[in-house]
Structure formats: C-alpha cells, structure tokens
C-alpha cells in the first residue's frame, strides 16, 4: 500500500506539468491585458506600460512561462498582479473557508442523500420513493443563487437565526452549506437509489434473506456497503468540484473562498492567481481520486492493493 501511495504521488508530477502548460496557454489566450486592468480605466498609456513592465508582461510568452515554471519549482507561486500580495497568501487565506464549507456541505449532503436514496430504493414506486426522488430532483433543479437569496431572506432577515453571510462562527456555515449541499444531496440520493436497487437484485441479498436476517440488516448491513461503491466515485467527483469553490454561493453569502477569488482574478486577468488556483484544483482532483481509490479498496476487497 505504501508503494502504491508513493507511485501515485510520483505520477502527479507529470500531470501537473502538463496541466500547468495548458493552464498557462489557456489563461494567456483569453483576451484582456492585465496591465490595463490593473492600471484602471483612467490610466494613461504610460501607466499601463509601466505596470506592464513592472509585472513582467512585456516579455515574450515563452520567457514568461520559463520564469513562472522556475518560480513554481522553487515553490514560489508568484504575487498577485491585482493586490501585490503573494499568491500563496491570497489562496491560503481562502482555502480553509472553502474547504470547511465543502466538507460540511458534503457531510450533510451525503448523510441526507444516503437516507433518501435508501428509503426510495426500498420503497420503490411507492409514495416515499416518489417523494424522495421528487425532493432530490427538486434539489437539482433549483438555481443556487435563488435558493441562497431566499434562505437569507427567510432565516437571516426574517427569523434572524443565522447570519446573512461572511465567516464568523459555526452559524455562518449553516445557510451556505445547506445551499451548496442540496444539489449534491440530490445527486447522492439518486445514485444511492439506483445502486441499491441494483444490489437488491443480487443473489447474495437473497442469500442474506434466506438466513433469516431482518430486512433492516439485509439493507443496511449487506446491501448498502455494496451500493456505496459507485456512490463513492460520484461523491468524490462532487467533492472535487466543490473544493474549487462555488462562485455563486460565495457571492451570495460573501464567503471568503476560492471560487470568488477565481472570478475576481479572471476579471483582472490576474495570471499568477488564476494559474495557481487551477494548479491547486488539479491537485485536489488528483488527491481526491486517490482517496476514492483507497476507499474503493476498503469497500471492495476484490480490488484491494497487494
């Protein structure tokens, strides 16, 4: 297992290099001159040129890439063109809020999704199933910003239970985590339902029943763990997406997270920040895939590492 981990970690490096080149090219392909944006609309051409020189944007692209990669290898992500702060600091400050928000969203969404999914699968084509799936699909069909603004109106402004936004205490997590999680809960519920329905048709479920086990044990003990295998992949994927930060929710809830930073950086063509964020997303994806693979091994002994 240790060897497996090492091997997987080593594999990350070439992927990140390819990703970094792609990102670099993509980011520079988007029209828009950061110097102009940084200097502001009332800047004169001299200002812009000055800024451009200051930021090193006057150099050829290849040279810029080499500098960028050189710094990257030294562990230096550069400085934000917009705020002049080190990129590491900009991202560092926003990473944990995004991470915790994602984590809490995933936690409730997974629990709720699993419960709804199990109930739906066991009460297939009866009203709890319809209700559960209707609820789940509704969760997928609501525009997030609308839901967020509605929740703020109800729970923050009218009832005053939770803050409207920002990150102050545990209460700050409730509304954004709820909003962010609804879609995920819906997806998990649907995946769980269909995976469990497949599993319930398996022979070993019949075997479990033939032993005289209670239905509760048959489902939660014997079936769910098997059904979790596809659910885990999907949950991992969702987790990966959410870790990138959700622009819409961060905007609505004034959340100091990565998604908002990305949008702001794009608006300013803040290349170092965009590039660093993208690299981090790619890394997150890889790590999550790794965790999913490990979970796979735990859930399914057939694919356990040697």
């Amino acid at each position: 297992m240790f060897r497996f981990l090492i091997k997987r970690l080593v594999e990350i490096i070439p992927i990140l290099i390819v990703v970094s080149i792609l990102i670099f090219l993509f980011v520079h392909m988007i029209p828009g001159d950061p110097a102009r944006l940084v200097a502001g609309p009332d800047a004169t051409i001299e200002d812009v040129e000055l800024v451009s020189k200051e930021l090193g944007l006057d150099k050829p692209l290849v040279e810029q890439y080499i500098t960028y990669m050189g710094n990257l290898l030294k562990g230096d992500l550069g400085t934000s063109l917009k705020t002049n702060r080190p990129v590491a600091e900009e991202i560092g400050a926003r990473f944990m809020p995004t991470f915790w928000l994602t984590l809490w969203s995933m936690v409730w969404a997974t629990i709720a999704g699993l419960i709804i999914g199990v109930i739906s699968a066991t009460k297939r084509n009866k009203w709890p199933d319809y209700l559960g799936m209707f609820g789940a699909v509704s969760g997928l069909s609501l525009p997030a910003f609308w839901l967020g603004l509605m929740l703020i109106q109800l729970f923050a402004v009218t009832l005053g239970w939770f803050p409207t936004g920002g990150l102050e205490s545990w209460k700050s997590y409730v509304l954004p985590a709820f909003t962010l999680g609804t879609g995920v809960a819906a997806v998990i519920a649907r995946f769980t339902r269909s995976a469990l329905m497949d599993v319930l048709k398996e022979d070993y479920v019949r075997t479990a029943r033939s032993k005289g086990l209670k239905e509760k044990n048959v489902i939660w003990g014997h079936s769910l763990r098997n059904a979790m295998i596809p659910v885990v992949t999907m949950t991992g994927l969702q987790f990966g997406f959410l870790l990138g930060g959700s622009v819409v929710i961060e905007t609505v809830f004034s959340w100091p997270g990565l998604g908002k930073l990305l949008i702001d950086s794009v608006a300013f063509r803040d290349y170092p920040v965009i590039q660093a964020e993208m690299l981090i997303f790619a890394l997150e994806f890889i790590i999550i895939n790794l965790i999913v693979d490990l979970l796979y091994g735990i859930l399914n002994p057939q694919i356990r590492y040697e």
Binding site: D293, Y296, G297, Q302, I303, R304, Y305, E306
Partner: protein, 325 residues
C-alpha cells in the same frame, strides 16, 4: 502426411493479470499454455475440459480474435498467425464460430434478417441475392422466412442457437468452431441442435472443432477428442479409444465423475480431492499433480512430455504406461 485443414502449433495465450487498481501487472494468466493439435477436413474434433481450462480461449485464438502470445496457426497449409486485420478478412469466410450463449451472441437490436445478412454484407454479396440467401439459410436451420423480421428476444434459446448457426453458415465456411453450442440449452432442446449440427456436417461437408464440457455430448458427436487441463492438452485420441481406454488419470477421473442417468447403475467413481488450481499460478511440473491420486515426486518436478502413446493416442503423463492396466 495428410493435409490438415487447421493446425494449432504450440499455442500459448497469456493474459496480463490486472488485479485491481492497486497492483502492477506482472503476473499472467496462462489461459492456454502450449496447445497443439490438427483438425482434418470433414472430421469433428472435440475439446473437453473443466471450466476455465482455456477451451474458449483456444477457440478465440484460432478464430484470430486474440493474438496468441506464442505459437502458429496454420489454415490449409498457410500460416495465418501474423496476418493483419485487413489481410485476414477474406479468410474469415472459411472459418466461423458458434457461441455458447445464444442470448448474448445475437445483437438484441437487430432483426434476424439483419443478423444473418451481416456476414453477407461484410463479404460483399450482391444486395439482390442477400434476401434469397437469408431465407435459404433460415430454412436450412429449421426456421422459416416468417422469422426474418423478428428480434432475437422473441425466440427461445434453441431457436436462437439456430439463428447463430445460420449466421455461421452464411458464408459457406469450411470449418466451424462451436464453443459449447448446447451447454446453455434445455435438455429437451439440446438433442435437436446436436442433430442439426450432424445433419449440416453431412450436407455441407463441414469440419467441426467442437468445444464442450459435457462428456456424453462429446461422445455422441466427436470423431476425436482432446482433453484439456489448465491450459494444456493432456490427452488426445479417437473417441472410442478415449472413452474405452483413457490413459491420463485426469481423463479417467473426468469420465468416472459423469453422473449416469440410471439409478441402478453401479458407480465406482474416482472422486478427486482439492480444487482446480488457478491459471495465474499453475502448479509446477505436471499441473495435475495436486489432484492426481497417483502423483509421485517426478510429477511435481518435471512437466510430462506430450507424446504419442501409439496409434495417434497422445497423452501427457509420466506414468501413462503403468496406469493403463
């Protein structure tokens, strides 16, 4: 030397073993590990053996659906082993396959006509003649033209197997590799298909390579029989010889294990101990030594030679002579 229709020379097929996502592929499943035999025109050669011993894989290699790890395939004296997909295409007319599973081997989305027509299209038969040929084939296998526009799921297992046979016959092949064509069928249908295969052989002078695990079926249909164990042929000879004077201990055990549908029959059975070893990790020496009641030290150490015991009775056992009595 007689001209063989098909010769398999020391065929090996090793699949890289990918055990889950966590390990590197370093092991191989030796599905077929050095199989040689030759099929004469017009005869039926059967291959029997237990599940996983490499029967289907051998069939697939001979059909050029898999590229063997080692060995040569000679068809009508021509070595076709290394032919590319394009080069082999015209030869495919000459040998066709019937599959074990009549449910999975027919595309559920195509009508019977489309299924049977496909080889005709692939081998460029004129459009005008195809329709006729399809109806002709349907009749040959005991169906009729009313069935042409139906979908496979509307047919019973036996009927589907007939469709599969019609497809194989469409291009007038010389050789048919039948991979357990009756195993999935009901007992009462099995005999219909066996009879059909026999009739067709007589009518079109077909050569069969018949893969099976049911010894009573094999005895009924074959001219010669090869017994496989763990990727190798352990015994090959005429049907009568094999059933009356088996030499290899495995063949003997196999024959004695077949349940006889007669409650008053006398059973003196050789019940083997142990399980079939895995093809990924076959035992040393004679691969059968782990279950062989007569195994000696030499069996553990050296692989027995596959030799002609006389009268084209091939066997791979160190003690074939001693055990004969």
């Amino acid at each position: 030397m007689t001209q063989y229709l098909l010769e398999a020379q020391n065929i090996k097929m090793h699949f890289p073993l990918k055990k889950g996502i966590f390990s590197r592929k370093e092991n191989f499943v030796k599905a077929v590990d050095g199989v040689s035999f030759a099929v004469k025109a017009g005869e039926t050669l059967s291959i029997v053996g237990e599940s996983g011993c490499g029967k289907s894989t051998t069939g697939r290699v001979l059909m050029k659906l898999l590229d063997p790890t080692e060995g040569r395939i000679i068809f009508e004296g021509e070595d076709i082993t290394d032919f590319s997909a394009d080069k082999i295409r015209p030869y495919r007319k000459e040998f066709q396959m019937i599959f074990q599973d009549p449910y999975a081997s027919l595309n559920p989305r195509l009508t019977v006509k489309e299924i049977i027509e496909e080889p005709l299209i692939v081998h460029n038969l004129e459009k005008s003649k195809r329709q006729e040929r399809v109806i002709e084939l349907l009749e040959v296998v005991g169906l009729n033209k009313y069935h042409a526009n139906r979908y496979p799921h509307e047919f019973s297992g036996g009927q589907r197997q007939r469709i599969g046979i019609a497809r194989a016959l469409a291009v007038n092949p010389k050789l048919i590799i039948a991979d357990e064509p009756v195993s999935a069928l009901d007992v009462s249908i099995q005999s219909q298909i066996l009879n059909l295969l026999k009739d067709l052989q007589a009518e079109f002078n077909l050569t069969y390579l018949f893969i099976a695990h049911d010894l009573s079926v094999v005895e009924h249909i074959s001219d010669r029989v090869a017994v496989m164990y763990l990727g190798r042929i352990v015994e090959l000879t005429d049907r009568d010889r094999l059933f009356k004077h088996p030499l290899h201990p495995y063949t003997k055990a196999l024959l004695s294990a077949v349940p006889i549908p007669d409650p008053s029959a006398k059973k003196n059975r050789i019940v083997l101990t142990g399980d079939i070893p895995s093809a990924a990790n076959p035992p040393s020496g004679c691969t059968f030594h782990t279950r062989c009641p007569f195994a000696k030290d030499v069996c553990v150490e050296t692989t027995p030679e596959y030799r002609d015991y006389g009268d084209n009775h091939f066997v791979a056992c160190h003690f074939a002579e001693e055990l004969e009595g």
